[in-house]
């Protein structure tokens, strides 16, 4: 037998006998013969553990290893603490399902409650749910949540400066869910207040305005007066954010947002070629009953002990079915444990230091990349935290390929032939930046 099946031939005979059967095939008498597989799957033969390891080692060698990463665009190469990586592997956490039985799930429920608290403090919002899939779907769900919260308005205004990978998902959800999406134009890299005012004038059915913190170009936009403008038009303000940056940037709560959403990958989650990451949604308490997904609340048991349970379940799909705010069920549970551990290790001071390192490195990177006068900042007058757009005289492809080949550096994310988005974190050093700048000097 296989190591993953405990059944011996004797076990199988005994169990079949107790069921009044003699053959395993009799368990499938109800499956019409013409539907049954006529031969085994055309799949590889079973592999032992060493063979599986070797298979993935071989695949791994086809990836470029150990690159210094200046690519961002919403997902950043951060320090991943060994303690966080190790603790999420605790099998009591890892192999549990949704905490339907609170008596034997206090571990899961407790870390989700801690996570909700930390996220609400980080975003400056009153409440948080127990997680969404990723930043893109969280933004789309925030849009649906806003539309569900405002009566008879099915239009949203989305800034042109949000992450285009998020925008594609917002557009998809909107298209099928029957929501109109209008783009607020960009002016010199930031959301055009003039265009927003014009669109709020033009459309009387705007449910929400969605803007980024920071924006796709790395710019930290000044939203002074925005919430007053949006609220005076009876719409909700939604901010889609890079979570870690909120440790130092003005929070959605401070800006007066109704819903904060985004991705928490930046809180030390490994890049892992796209996932698992961690979408989040936080909001004012007034919108609590429109919040998608699971929520954990504190209560006490019959002996008076403080404990935690899934709560407000009347909003959810298994009760509300087609009337639910969202269809989300499984989310990214374990990743909330990861970022709770991460934030517990880092504290506010650690997150601030990380932001300082990223900012200092990005400023130095910008300085070095523009030094020879053949590249310049695309938006030189706008503040950035750790990411910016570089405009190059030479083709961006040349830089990306030369840096990868000669220095094993991923230079950034290409925006077009002559623009590249570059990010820095605590993981790159002055020397790495000097090496990249040296490559750039040789690009033609």
């Amino acid at each position: 037998m296989h190591r993953l099946f405990p059944h011996t031939p004797e076990d199988i005979s005994k169990m079949l006998g107790d069921c009044g059967l003699t053959e395993l095939s009799q368990l499938y008498v109800d499956v019409p013969q013409e539907l049954k597989l006529k031969e085994p799957y055309k799949l590889p033969a079973r592999m032992s553990e060493p063979e599986v390891r070797r298979f993935f080692d071989d695949l791994g060698r086809r990836n470029r290893q150990g690159m210094i990463c200046f690519a961002g665009a919403g997902f950043y190469d951060h320090y991943t603490p060994a303690a966080a990586l190790n603790l999420v592997g605790r099998s009591e956490f890892l192999t549990a399902y949704t905490p339907y039985q609170p008596e034997i799930s206090q571990g899961t429920l407790q870390y989700i409650f801690e996570y909700q608290t930390m996220m609400s403090r980080l975003t400056g919002m009153e409440i948080s749910n127990a997680s969404m899939y990723d930043g893109a779907t969280a933004t789309a769900e925030a849009m649906m949540m806003a539309v569900a919260s405002v009566r008879k308005r099915r239009r949203v205004l989305v800034s042109a400066t949000i992450n285009p990978a998020y925008r594609r998902v917002v557009d998809t959800y909107a298209h099928y869910h029957g929501i109109e999406v209008e783009t607020i134009a960009e002016a010199d890299g930031v959301t055009s207040r003039e265009d927003l005012e014009a669109k709020l004038q033009e459309f009387s059915d705007v449910a929400a305005v969605i803007v980024p913190v920071p924006n796709y170009y790395g710019i930290v936009e000044d939203y002074t007066g925005l919430s007053e403008l949006v609220h005076s038009n009876k719409a909700l303000l939604v901010m889609t954010c890079v979570a870690a940056d909120l440790a130092v940037l003005k929070t959605p709560g401070e800006w007066g947002a109704d819903i904060a959403c985004g991705d928490s990958q930046s809180l030390g989650i490994p890049l892992s070629y796209g996932g698992p990451y961690l979408g989040f949604i936080c909001s004012t308490k007034a919108l609590m009953r429109k919040m998608p997904g699971r929520v954990v609340g504190a209560t006490h048991d019959s002996e008076g002990r403080r404990c935690f349970v899934l709560t407000l379940q009347a909003r959810e799909q298994h009760i509300r079915r087609e009337k639910a705010t969202s269809n989300i069920c499984s989310n990214q549970g374990l990743m909330t444990l990861y970022v709770s551990i991460y934030m517990s290790l880092m504290g506010a001071e650690g997150l601030r230091e990380i932001a300082e390192h990223g900012h200092a490195a990005a400023e130095y990177l910008a300085k070095k990349m523009t030094e020879d006068g053949r590249a310049s900042l695309r938006y030189p007058d706008k503040p950035f935290l750790n990411e910016f757009v570089l405009r190059t005289d030479y083709p961006v492809d040349t830089l990306i390929h030369a840096a990868m080949k000669s220095e094993n550096i991923l230079a950034g994310v290409k925006l077009n032939e002559h623009e590249i988005l570059m990010a820095a974190t605590e993981m790159q050093t002055r020397e790495d930046i000097d090496r990249l700048a040296a490559v750039a000097r040789k690009c033609n």
């Binding site: 405990p6 059944h7 169990m15 107790d18 008498v29 109800d30 499956v31 049954k36 597989l37 799949l43 592999m47 695949l59 990836n63 470029r64 150990g66 690519a71 665009a73 303690a83 603790l87 592997g89 099998s91 890892l94 192999t95 549990a96 609170p102 008596e103 034997i104 799930s105 206090q106 899961t108 407790q110 948080s128 930043g135 649906m144 998902v169 401070e254 070629y273 796209g274 006490h300 002990r305 935690f308 799909q317 298994h318 079915r321 087609e322 969202s326 069920c329 499984s330 990214q332 990743m335 517990s344 290790l345 880092m346 997150l351 230091e353 390192h357 200092a360 935290l385 991923l410 050093t429």
Partner: protein, 500 residues
Amino acid sequence: MNKELYGNLVFELSHKGRKGYALPANGLDNAGALNDMPAAVMRTGAPDLPECDELTVVRHYNNMSTNNFGVDTGFYPLGSCTMKYNPKLNEEIASHRAFAGLHPFAPASAVQGALKAYWTLQQLLSEIGGMSEFTLNPFAGAHGELTGLMVIRRYHESRGDTKRRKVIVPDSAHGTNPASAAVAGLEIVEVKSRPDGTVDVDDLRPLLDDTVAAMMMTNPNTLGIFEKNIPEIAHMVHEAGALMYYDGANLNPMLGVARPGDMGFDVMHINLHKTFSTPHGGGGPGSGPVGVREGLEEFLPTPRVVRRHVNSDDQPVAEENRFAIEYGPEALGSISATLGNFAVQLRALSYILSLGSDGLMQVGPLATLNANYIKEMLKDDYLLPIETVCKHEFVFDGLRDKSTGVTTLNVAKRLLDHGYHAPTIYFPLLFHESLMIEPTESESLETLDDFIGVMHDIAREARETPDVVINAPHNTPITHPDDTEAALHPILTYDELAAQ
């Protein structure tokens, strides 16, 4: 599992000035670096986060974990969730250093191994599902349902057939089915079940017209019964111009037996965290790949991974550019920023390779054997509403003896005292006292016999000392949490808790 409640919150362990990290030196002047940022865009005051050294954090979360029950702790017969064993090798592969550091927007030439892993898994799933191609982008089962329904809408749209806005779902369906349809902008029409939960074909017939986009089904259904009439249902649905959607939540018993594609389904999703052994993680991250039959591939969401041997000019493609990412014009759009929960996909690939063709052929029959064995051994004490061979799971309608006052909830809570996770309860809604049991193929005869013994003991207690069962659990870290209070006065953060 530790029966004593640990119960501390990390905020209560915080001590000002402690820290659990050290950042790498970067050779730059970091301190005060943010002083050049405009004050208007900076937050006033730091967030109030814990301050802890590493060991304090490690002990805290370790202790917390001891109040949790997972598959590695004990038997977890939670119906419809397929709580099979999550092989340790999968975890090792998922954190493989050759994949963990890859940026999702790295050039394809730098991530050929990752793209090949994705492409290989989608090929293997296509063979198992009897489909033509899979997208692995959806993050969970419900996300897969949503994506699959979007594929269906996109297909009808592409033919200019825009009036098809109804999805037919059995009244026994999982709650996610109607919720996913609503998010996809589709209207739900319920078709009645017969007493065994199978679709009533006579009730279905008049519902089928040119406004129906799809019929959405699990097979076997939520009672663990195989829909014998599936060829006829698929024929009727296709005649009406609609597509068949397979909810893969119950795929496990069909491994090695029959493929959804051969049953007449056009679009399906698979829960990798059920059938393909990736851990449930306390509610994610999961993965919900969506497969389509031939002719529907171009509607799958972007980004899409393709393998090319020649380029658009018919020139051979070098090995280092064999796998590429595409954004095709006919696609339904994007449902994720990246290619999905990649590390979960690696785990599922590791599982399929470990079992191989012959191993996978045994999964369904052994899971089904385990379920039937429990059903047969317990039907003397528990009410079995449907006397037939079941698939991976089955449903009891509570205890046979209804005079004791002991409910399904009581039985479930008493099981916790004995070191078992409870089955799924009060679902499906077809019975008042549903107790849905799914053992999976991972469990040994001894484990099943122990469970059966405890279930018999509980039935005896219900007759002899019913209060013991009614007041259960007695032996868990907490007992009888006040759900009503939690919902009436929601306390969702430590700040709200501390303000009390």
